[in-house]
């Protein structure tokens, strides 16, 4: 049995750490701040592992209880409660483990920053919200966590708020997520309307009743209720998990400190959408249309957003676009009803992507906060630990057996291939070609960073890079004050600890997660959609799967990508420019990220500013301020002044008023007939 206090401790320990570090940051100092938050998150991590152990091996039953009733209105209860099954337990482990790694890493990365305590408070707070999100047993708490992580994400992207680009990126993330959250809230409302409860258990139990029910939003066009609910919920997931076309905030979010990019914008928060869709599998299984939408949007992102990664020079942006692409893979898996595969990829991705980000951060530290790969190169000699662990992460990302990413990504590609929903063949080509793209940008990044010639030089007199780390100018670019060196142990330890699961976790978990019915009743798959069951028929053990890889298309496509990239960037650097010239227009489109930002700016940003201007000048100042607000305010004012004169101060006036009131009450009886 899982005890309530144990679960509460998991959630509250990081919160307590966050509160202490945030409110008493000045008093307890830097060591105190990272001490309490790491202790809090550490407790959460250990206990999460314990919960996971209890559920998987200890035979503990699933936990689903309300702990506190916030309010109960008209039969709808708003509760705080936990639903702990294998799905949430796995998320808890991933979230708290990655979070713990990032906490430790941050000690090194943020060592020189003034906002040290604030930063630790935020990331511990983030851990609290994320755990609330995954452990929730109802929509409302899910939304609480959802908004909470969004808030912390906003705060952290704009952490260096004095930098205009950072606060702009923070705003952008916030606003784009508003769009998603609007859909999400509507989805929750629709679910509540049709299913009559905010609790997962009750709502999912009523889910079959959705079949055949419809909703008319535009009169005359009834839409299936399940489809409307699922698509609205998925819009929320699109915002949070950065799916096309709401992905534009994620690359910009790289303005935040690197630990945040690893924790929030790679490993945990952005996967909340994936988790949510998996959690809602009983609803999504009812709507093939919604599954198609998920599949097509996910696959599109997997391929096209990966392409952008090839053209980027900023090391973090490359990883960011790779995240977008991988999130696309996860969504595509969900769309193909291979929820387990999506969750599997979520888990492996959390490890290797956090690793890649933290590795990139380590490189950035060594380069004195230079992020442009054109000024790197040859770093493998200076920082061997980062170099090796980054390679582990890269190979996992490319899906080379036996690294973790291979198993999860291969399963996704196969599942999408086996899916029969509308758009599956388009999606299959997208995810397949995505493998080539992934290999290309990954190896390009590794070669540019660690191999080749050094494109920087050391000049001891060239100012000091660290102080204006987040300022603008470095003086001349590519000039370092001293030679790059390996990062301290607090940075490399998390790298090593993350490299281990990136390498091994796939081998050990592929069988139970994908085919062993690991998630049990937490995930519901309609028999007609069950692609994993089809695939299970061809599964002959981990070793066979690994060896079989050399006969499959994805493997060779990845290898092709690697070969091409190696040739271009290692052997014939001039080739890159030649390719660029040949593919001129295409390159420009990709390099400009398919012009999403430009279109959004022109259409939404300028459009809404113009609309706002018009409304402000015409409607607000004229009609609302002039007539309604000031008008009603002056009316109220006049009535109030008049009414005040009734209070004359004379005793007999008061007594008279009472008598008149009495007479009116009596008259009421005479005039109004009663039963």
């Amino acid at each position: 049995m899982l005890s309530t206090s144990l679960l509460l401790a998991i959630v509250l320990a990081p919160l307590l750490g966050a509160v202490l570090a945030g409110l008493l940051g000045r008093q307890i100092g830097r060591a105190g701040a990272h001490g309490v938050t790491i202790l809090g998150v550490g407790i959460a991590c250990v206990l999460s592992f314990y919960v996971f152990y209890q559920l998987v091996w200890g035979g503990a039953p699933d936990y689903d209880q309300n702990i506190y009733t916030w309010f109960q209105v008209a039969g709808i209860g708003a509760h705080v409660g936990f639903l702990i099954d294998r799905l949430s337990a796995m998320m808890m482990v991933v979230v708290s483990f990655v979070s713990l790694m990032v906490h430790i890493y941050t000690i090194g990365y943020m060592a020189d920053d003034d906002g040290y305590q604030r930063f630790f408070s935020y990331i511990a707070l983030f851990t609290f919200f994320m755990l609330m999100l995954v452990m929730s047993n109802n929509f409302l708490q899910l939304f609480f966590g959802w908004e909470g992580v969004g808030l912390v994400s906003y705060l952290l992207i704009g952490f260096w708020f004095k930098k205009p680009s950072a606060s702009f990126a923070g705003m952008k993330a916030f606003i784009v997520n508003r769009v998603g959250d609007l859909g999400f809230v509507l989805g929750i409302a629709a679910a509540l309307h049709f299913l009559g409860s905010l609790d997962y258990g009750t709502a999912f139990a009523h889910a079959p009743s959705l079949v055949g029910r419809s909703i008319q939003i535009i009169p005359g066009h009834p839409w299936s209720a399940a489809t409307v609910i699922c698509i609205l919920l998925f819009i929320g997931a699109m915002g949070k998990s950065a799916q096309v076309p709401l992905h534009v905030w994620l690359p910009d979010s790289m303005e935040g400190p690197t630990p945040i990019s690893a924790l929030i914008h790679a490993a945990t928060m952005v996967t909340a959408g994936v988790f949510m869709v998996a959690r809602m599998s009983p609803l999504f299984e009812l709507s093939t249309t919604a599954l198609s939408v998920v599949l097509v949007i996910g696959a599109t992102g997997a391929f096209f957003l990966g392409l952008i990664g090839i053209t980027q020079w900023d090391i973090k942006r490359v990883v960011a676009y790779s995240t977008l692409s991988q999130l696309g893979y996860m969504m595509a898996a969900l769309g193909a009803s291979a929820y387990a595969a999506g969750m599997f990829h979520l888990m492996t991705h959390a490890f290797f992507k956090a690793l890649l980000f933290l590795g990139a951060g380590s490189v950035i530290m060594a380069m004195h906060h230079e992020q442009d790969m054109r000024y790197m190169g040859g770093l493998r000699r200076y920082m061997p630990v980062t170099y090796l662990t980054m390679w582990v992460g890269s190979l996992a990302l490319c899906g080379i057996p036996p690294f973790a990413g291979f198993y999860s990504k291969d399963a996704i590609i196969e599942a999408v291939g086996a899916s029969h929903v509308w758009g599956a063949s388009y999606a299959y080509w997208c995810v397949l070609l995505g493998v080539f793209v992934t290999a290309t940008y990954t190896f390009r990044m590794m070669y540019l960073t660690f191999h080749g010639k050094e494109r920087f030089h050391v000049d001891a007199h060239a100012g000091h890079g660290h102080d204006d780390a987040h300022g603008e100018a470095h003086g001349e670019r590519g000039v370092l004050a001293h030679a790059p060196h390996e990062s301290p142990w607090v940075v490399t330890l998390p790298l090593v600890l993350l490299a281990i699961p990136s390498l091994l976790i796939g081998i050990f978990t592929v069988w139970p997660l994908l085919y062993g019915n690991f998630f049990g009743s937490a995930i519901v798959v309609a028999p007609a959609h069950d692609v994993l069951a089809e695939m299970a028929a061809h599964f002959h053990g981990v070793l066979a799967l690994t060896l079989h890889a050399v006969f499959t298309a994805p493997f060779w496509i990845a290898v092709a990508g690697i070969v091409v990239t190696s040739y271009v960037y290692l052997l014939n650097p001039a080739m890159a420019d030649a390719v660029k010239r040949v593919l001129g227009p295409v390159y420009r489109v990709v390099d400009n990220k398919f012009y999403f930002d430009e279109v959004y700016n022109a259409l939404f940003a300028r459009g809404s500013v113009a609309l706002g201007q018009a409304l402000w000048k015409g409607a607000d100042v004229g009609a609302i301020d002039g007539v309604m607000v000031n008008g009603s305010a002056s009316l109220v004012d006049r009535v109030a002044r008049r009414a005040r004169t009734l209070q004359s101060g004379f005793l007999y006036h008061y007594a008279f008023a009472m008598i008149v009131g009495l007479i009116l009450l009596l008259a009421g009886f005479l005039l109004v007939p009663h039963a």
Binding site: Y652, F656, I659, V660, L662, I663, L666, A667, F669, L670
Partner: protein, 205 residues
């Protein structure tokens, strides 16, 4: 028409007349005296209803004590009535109008029929004891708690009266009898022995 009913109308007439005079008479002393008349008439009505105890208490407490106190106060304060009267005539029509409306409403609401309710049986007579004995029994058994609470209210009245009127004025010279009695001769006169001759001429004068 029995003699009792005749007596009732007689006393009721004087009760209402007294009440009217209280609010119309110019001289406050006369007004208080009219109030006495009202109380007295009401006491007589109670007497007719065989509530002897209440009737006597009304006369003893209200007429005998409260009204006399009122008279003292009114006589001592020497209120200028004319000023207070001024509004009275001006507002009289409104007042009469409101009173008439109230009366009309009361009559319509309750209905004349309901006013002819037969009085409930006399509880004292039912118990076969005198009115005084019955009130005493009820007061000290069933209504013990309200009785005690009423005592608390009186206590509050005393506390409030003291709190609002008792003043320790500073600078007022008043006798302290105990100190006067306790005084002894040596506190009043102090004999000082001084040398008769002048001292050193250079010293203090």
């Amino acid at each position: 028409m029995t003699i009792q009913l005749l007596a009732f109308y007689f006393f009721a007439f004087f009760a209402v007349l007294g009440a009217l005079l209280v609010i119309t008479l110019r001289n406050p002393v006369h007004a208080v005296l009219s109030l006495v008349l009202t109380f007295f008439s009401v006491a007589c009505i109670w007497m007719l209803m065989q509530a002897e105890f209440l009737a006597l208490v009304l006369i003893v407490v209200y007429v005998g004590a409260v009204m006399v106190l009122f008279l003292f106060v009114v006589m001592m304060l020497d209120i200028k009535v004319a000023a207070a009267r001024e509004g009275f005539i001006r507002h009289l029509p409104v007042g009469i109008g409101v009173a008439l409306i109230m009366l009309a409403e009361m009559v319509t609401l309750i209905g004349l029929r309901a006013m002819q309710v037969a009085p409930p049986p006399n509880p004292a007579a039912m118990h076969g004891e005198s009115n005084v004995a019955w009130i005493g029994t009820a007061l000290y058994t069933q209504y013990l708690l309200p009785f005690e609470v009423a005592a608390m209210i009186l206590t509050v009245g005393i506390v409030a009266a003291v709190a609002l009127t008792l003043r320790h004025r500073v600078g007022v010279r008043h006798q302290n009898a105990s100190q006067q009695v306790a005084a002894v001769a040596r506190d009043r006169v102090r004999l000082v022995s001084m040398p008769a001759e002048r001292g050193d001429p250079g010293a203090q004068p």
